[in-house]
Symmetry: C2
Subunit: 390 residues, 2 copies
């Protein structure tokens, strides 16, 4: 690139956020760091501020905001507070790319602020598109914002699509590692623990997404996300289990040709690609060596043993607020599972029950989505509590 | 596409030619068939003329040209004769795409005629680029011609390159089936027969290219071809053995990302892609099903057991007329092997010996290449004859 790009990272202390900061710190000459933001992890934020010297920061919680002042008394840039502060950082006029790396539904409002500012947005926050896909993509069109997926799967699809005509695309084939319980039968799945689920075979990720990977809910969300990002119906989005996670996803074209994007499993590639798209920049990571890897294997994705995947297709086909309900219920259920309060197969059960009991809106506004999310969380929390006290 | 494309097929009765005619006949509304040409197979040509009604034909041998007149007395279009006739068809002003599908070195002169006419050329004739790569590509630049590879490997590379910046390309990874003798030790390789070599595991091809596939000479030629088509040095072109032939080749980028083009093994995809590039058109072939395939495997390409591959890198690095000599010697040696006159490991030995004895030109003209080709054939023929009478 000819001139450095100005980057803001929403959620810089999370899993994707820290890797984004890693890329920014490795290649300081290519990037200007505008804002870093976090909810509460100000110790990590302070360390990042010392390392890559952003122009400003934004912190959601007031106690954390006060603590940052104590940690970095010499920081002279703006220190913004609350969701308003996050939104101001997201919408800042200097941003070339906003990396939206906040976990869960909390990322929706700041991401929308970046969309309304017409920015290029690296979207690592999949809940944004899962819960409010049509709203976000319609807003992106209206405000001239560009949404670039940072999931390895959607980055793979985007990389396979460059230079191709939209009309020539037939299907997406999203790969799934299958998680640690890929070969478990139904009975064994009922007994697995959070500790087992957190041992993801290929990717080192946050706890929430690791559990979503074990249930295949993560893959289901990626199907929903792909539908919104690339405007392809669910019937043309397939999932195939590929335990080595070397092929990150594929695009099949109308002539039967398939393009795949591959590489060693690392989020650094999709993160950097979002920052440099449609160009690339050098990245010093180990290269894929297929002769050493030896074999890439593939299996069908089983929607019976992994009902979260089927639920994702169901809520996508239903539309409206259904996916938002599923996402909220899933977030609550995964937290309960990580706490040891409910079992592994209670996660899809909690989503199903919450979907069954919640009222649906066919054409929700963003406020409706926020309200639906909160209501679904309340219902799912009560449901998990009932399960716990059984 | 909005309007039909006008296509001429040089070598329409060969393996790639008949498959090109198959695509043209399946999708008559998309294409106008300008000329079909052949060297001698006029019975096949007459059948093609009846089936897809080209505007004209060109036939290299005079006896065959006379026979065509007998076979198709009612054909009212031009029936051109000799290399001049082939060149006239290749350079015809109406051509949108010229499919250069002639086997061996005989395709060089007609292909050059198409280049000088500034056409888009589907290049299935790899000897053209192997023997005279710098001359052909320099001519293509000078006359504004576009060379599109029709090998599945180079088509894969081209498909992976669309939409990417040249500067972002790091390496090409060309896949090789490894041929039927992939796992043979050196001793066994000495004893293999033409009948064994002709049993190619994945592709149904002509006899010459099937032997080249078994020796890995074909793969070596593809390395040379890739160097000229895409202007990447040999040090950045790797070969990996992939027995299933599902991944047709890969491009690795400077950020460590790799793009692969995949699909069931069929030449119909790269042939049609050359006709429709950079767009695609529907093609009714079976879709790749990775869950059914189960595993894609990879091994290093062994340049000791398959010395033809090393020879290809050597002549590419030497430059000048060396690759032309290797190609000519290989064509002679393969013919002798198919006739049962020499052994399998005599093929690389014949190429080495011919290279060792022939004078080299650092900057050959096309006439020099034609003369070098003829001289190398004479030497290699004598060499094979000596081997035969040992």
């Amino acid at each position: 690139m000819t001139s450095p790009r100005t980057i803001t990272v929403l959620g810089s202390t999370g899993s994707i956020g820290t890797q984004t900061v890693d890329i920014l710190s490795r290649h300081g000459e290519r990037y200007v760091v505008n804002f870093l933001t976090c909810n509460t992890r100000v110790d990590d934020l302070a360390e990042q501020v010392r390392r890559i010297r952003p122009r400003g920061v934004a912190i959601r919680e007031e106690w954390a905001w006060k603590r940052f002042r104590e940690l970095c008394p010499d920081f002279t840039g703006p220190v913004l507070l609350g969701e308003e502060g996050l939104c101001e950082a997201a919408a800042h006029a200097d941003n070339d790319v906003v990396m939206s790396a906040m976990v869960g539904f909390s990322g929706v409002v700041p991401t929308m602020a970046a969309i309304r500012a017409g920015h290029v947005i690296g979207l690592a926050n999949k809940e944004t598109l899962v819960s409010a896909g049509d709203i976000m993509t319609a807003a992106a069109r209206a405000y001239g914002a560009t949404l670039i997926a940072v999931d390895s799967e959607h980055s793979a699809i985007l990389q396979c699509m460059v230079g191709e005509r939209r009309a020539d695309i037939e299907t997406f084939i999203i790969t799934a590692s299958g998680g640690p319980f890929r070969s478990y039968d139904m009975e064994s799945l009922h007994g697995v623990t959070a500790a087992q689920a957190l041992r993801h075979p290929n990717w080192s990720m946050g706890a929430k997404i690791t559990i979503d990977s074990a249930t295949l809910m993560n893959k289901g969300f990626e199907v929903i996300e792909a539908r919104w990002l690339f405007d392809l119906p669910s019937s043309r989005i397939d999932v195939v289990v590929h335990p080595q996670s070397i092929i990150h996803s594929m695009v099949q074209f109308i002539d039967g040709s398939v393009k795949a994007q591959m590489g060693i499993p690392t989020m650094l590639v999709p993160i950097q690609y979002a920052l440099t798209y449609p160009a690339r920049e050098p990245l010093d990571i180990p290269r894929m060596d297929l002769a050493s890897i030896g074999a890439l294997t593939f299996e069908s994705a089983d929607r019976e043993r992994f009902p979260c995947l089927q639920l994702a297709y169901d809520v996508l086909d239903e539309g409206g607020s259904a996916a938002c309900i599923a996402n909220a219920a899933n977030e609550v259920a995964v937290a309960a599972f990580l706490d040891g309060r409910i079992g592994f197969m209670d996660i899809p059960a909690c989503i199903s029950t919450t979907l069954h009991h919640m009222e649906r809106l066919a054409h929700p506004s963003l406020d409706d989505i926020v309200a639906t999310d909160a209501a679904a969380r309340r219902y799912a929390t009560e449901h998990c509590s009932r399960l716990q006290h059984r």
